[in-house]
């Protein structure tokens, strides 16, 4: 009714052309930026909904990695006598569980995210990339809460972070990037093939055993080490232990290779996702 409304609207360029997109590289990432508030609201929705009608609410966020750590300590340290590179096993495991839990959450949410929001996709336009993006961001809040436990444990075990802590943001960034890169391939496939929904938990489980969460990298046979280190999560977990607990640093050469691979996967994923999103509303 008043002209002010249009000036505050998020459609800063109120001219839209609609035509079949032919090229592979019309990515239109600016639209994602224009809709950043929707991204915020979708994250907010997922957080709200998750802990409604849950008695201990946010407590679950802390409980999950904490209990997993206790079980790991019992099974792997006490029963299986898995070494932990001279570190107290509980903090050795928790330092890995922190990024791993986030990664597993991000992947298991973003993989099926497009199908999960099919009601929106078939009825309303917005940049579809927002959906997996929101799913990757949401568990970051859990990550922030459960890192408080890690800080407490570091004080308890008298751990002093090394200068490597300055590199921590880089490791932190690599985790959601890896999750998003994989999700951008899985989510569109899930729209066509519901098999993805069945395969995903399995994939995450395998991935955990392929990462040094419960055991140190030193247990991996030397001739497999190269291949093993290409797993970006292996580098991230080793990086965490290096930065926070003063363990030997990961192989940065190999880490850059796997980071480059993740970036390639991400770029390809964006192109693939944008290509597939054209038919989301028709197929979903």
């Amino acid at each position: 009714m008043d002209t002010e409304i249009t000036s505050t609207s998020i459609f800063t360029t109120p001219f839209v052309e609609i035509k079949p997109s032919r090229g592979l590289f019309q990515l239109d990432l600016r639209a994602v930026w224009q809709y950043r508030e929707l991204l915020y609201f979708l994250v907010w929705r997922d957080l709200k909904v998750r802990y409604k009608q849950a008695a201990i609410g946010i407590g679950w966020v802390i409980l999950q990695p904490l209990v997993t750590m206790l079980i790991f300590t019992a099974v792997f340290e006490k029963f299986a006598k898995v070494p932990s590179d001279g570190l107290p096993y509980p903090i050795f495991a928790y330092t890995a569980l922190l990024p791993w839990t986030y990664f597993a959450q991000a992947l298991s949410r973003s993989g099926p995210s497009v199908v999960g929001d099919s009601g929106l996709i078939s009825k309303i336009y917005f940049p579809r990339l927002i959906i997996p993006l929101a799913a990757v961001i949401t568990p970051a809040v859990d990550f922030a809460f459960s890192s408080v436990i890690l800080l407490a444990m570091m004080v308890w075990f008298g751990m002093v972070p090394t200068w490597g802590v300055l590199a921590l943001p880089l490791f932190l960034l690599l985790v959601p990037t890896t999750a998003l890169a994989v999700a951008l391939w899985l989510a569109p496939l899930h729209v066509r093939y519901r098999d993805v929904g069945h395969a995903l938990p399995f994939l995450i489980q395998i991935w955990m055993y392929a990462s040094p969460v419960a055991y140190p990298v030193s247990l991996v046979p030397e001739r497999w080490r190269l291949l093993y280190s290409l797993n970006p999560m292996a580098g991230v977990i080793e990086g965490f232990r290096w930065a926070l607990l003063g363990k030997a640093s990961p192989d940065f050469m190999l880490m850059s290779v796997s980071a480059a691979f993740v970036l390639l996967l991400l770029l390809g994923g964006i192109v693939f996702f944008k290509h597939m999103e054209k038919t989301f509303a028709d197929v979903i």
């Binding site: 109120p14 929705r45 038919t279």
Partner: protein
């Protein structure tokens, strides 16, 4: 600037693969077996398959600022596909469209509502999904709550709302989008009568503010009330684009032809069998005319209607009792005329004939009515024929079904004691 074109569509086409629909939830196993199968069956052109379905064929039109345009057509004519393309939910297969201005599209009320969230939370979520900024929602929040009449339930999870409350809240959010181009798909037909009128009022205000409205509906009255121009889609193509009255009358004469409304009625089948041509008497043609005998389908409240029925008999019928009834589009039988009750007696009929009846000035409220022809005996025991015929409309700006079945003026008297 007044007559600027805000929506331009040129040669829009949309192809769906029927196979895509069949493999909705396809699995990798299907893909593997199918690609194996097709590898062994390499005949025919893969691009021109009979599985293709063109939901839209070469649709072009322009909308000017401030226009309210209705889109009508039968189910599957491409109305919703057109709206989905214009609101960027799906891409056209071919063609081009350009839109100038902020688009608000309402293809479903409450898309994106989350059951677990409260009314307040859903206003923010749904507002953001529809394209509002948080600041904008903050500013309009009170107006949205007022409009929805939700009141104190605003902090209750919407899963505990009645369906009416849910729809009212959802529509209120969308109504406050204040778009320059509004696309509405059949959502005004929700909520109770008061709320519907409120929504129509809101749409009218948007129009006064020079917004452009594109409105899909099956309700011809809503279309007539709001739109001066109608685009009639038939099997994916524009069949007619022009003044509402014309478009609707073409649409209705088309539907009469294709639906062959001389079909027997389902309850009549029990009495007389399902094939009219096997009955002892059946109508071959039912015409709706005005008093002067001109064919018409829209009548003003209070007009007389002339109904002409051509019939054929296979067996002579003694003392037939012709009954012509009007059944409203919601299947309420509103009135019926009987030749026997009106003292119009015939000793017997045989062969072909034409029956004509003129109604008294009809006081039925504005709606769509189907004509039903019955032939019975004078004791109303035997049915020889039961057929549903043509549809006609009664027009009145005020008197609709909320006033009841019919309306007649009363004598009024008021006395007051001081």
């Amino acid at each position: 600037m007044m007559n600027a074109v805000v929506v331009q569509a040129e040669g829009l086409c949309k192809k769906y693969k029927i196979a895509t629909a069949r493999y909705r939830h396809d699995t990798l196993r299907d893909l593997l077996t199918d690609s194996l199968k097709s590898a062994f069956r390499r005949n025919g052109n893969p691009h021109q398959s009979k599985d293709d379905f063109w939901a839209l064929k070469n649709v072009s039109f322009e909308l000017e600022r401030g226009e309210a345009v209705g889109i009508i057509g039968r189910n599957g004519a491409g109305k919703s596909t057109l709206l989905r393309i214009l609101s960027r939910i799906t891409q056209p297969t071919e063609g081009y469209a350009s839109i100038k201005g902020r688009v608000g599209s309402l293809l479903e009320v409450g898309a994106g509502f989350h059951q677990e969230l409260t009314g307040r939370e859903n206003i923010y979520l749904n507002g953001a999904i529809l394209g509002m900024t948080k600041r904008e929602i903050d500013r309009k929040f009170d107006a949205i709550v007022d409009f929805s009449e939700i009141g104190k339930f605003i902090d209750t999870p919407v899963k505990r709302y009645s369906s009416g409350m849910y729809v009212r809240l959802a529509f209120s959010v969308a109504a406050h989008l204040d778009p320059e181009i509004m696309m509405i798909d059949e959502v005004l037909s929700v909520g109770d009568m008061n709320f519907q009128q409120k929504c129509m009022g809101h749409a009218k205000r948007l129009l006064d503010g020079n917004a452009t409205i594109l409105f899909v509906s099956h309700n011809m009255f809503a279309i007539k009330a709001m739109c001066s121009r109608v685009i009639y889609l038939n099997e994916g193509s524009v069949r007619y684009d022009g003044p509402s009255e014309e478009a609707i009358s073409i649409y209705e004469s088309d539907s009469r032809e294709s639906e062959s409304r001389l079909d027997s009625m389902s309850w009549g089948e029990i009495a007389v069998g399902s094939k009219p041509s096997e009955w002892s008497i059946y109508a071959t043609d039912i015409q709706v005319l005005d008093e002067q005998g001109k064919p018409r389908t829209v009548f003003d409240f209070g007009e007389r209607i002339r109904i002409r029925v051509k019939f054929e008999t296979r067996l002579p019928i003694v003392k037939p009792n012709f009954i012509i009834a009007f059944v409203r589009s919601d299947n309420v039988a509103c009135c019926s005329y009987s030749s026997f009750v009106d003292d119009f007696h015939t000793s017997h009929i045989d062969g072909e004939g034409v029956l004509e009846m003129v109604t008294p000035p009809l006081k039925l409220v504005a709606e769509a009515y189907d004509i039903v022809i019955l032939v019975r005996d004078e004791s109303f025991q035997i049915a020889y024929c039961a057929q549903r015929g043509t549809r006609f409309h009664i027009r009145h700006e005020l008197l609709n079904t909320h006033f009841g079945v019919f309306h007649d003026s009363a004598d009024w008297h008021l006395s007051t004691t001081p």
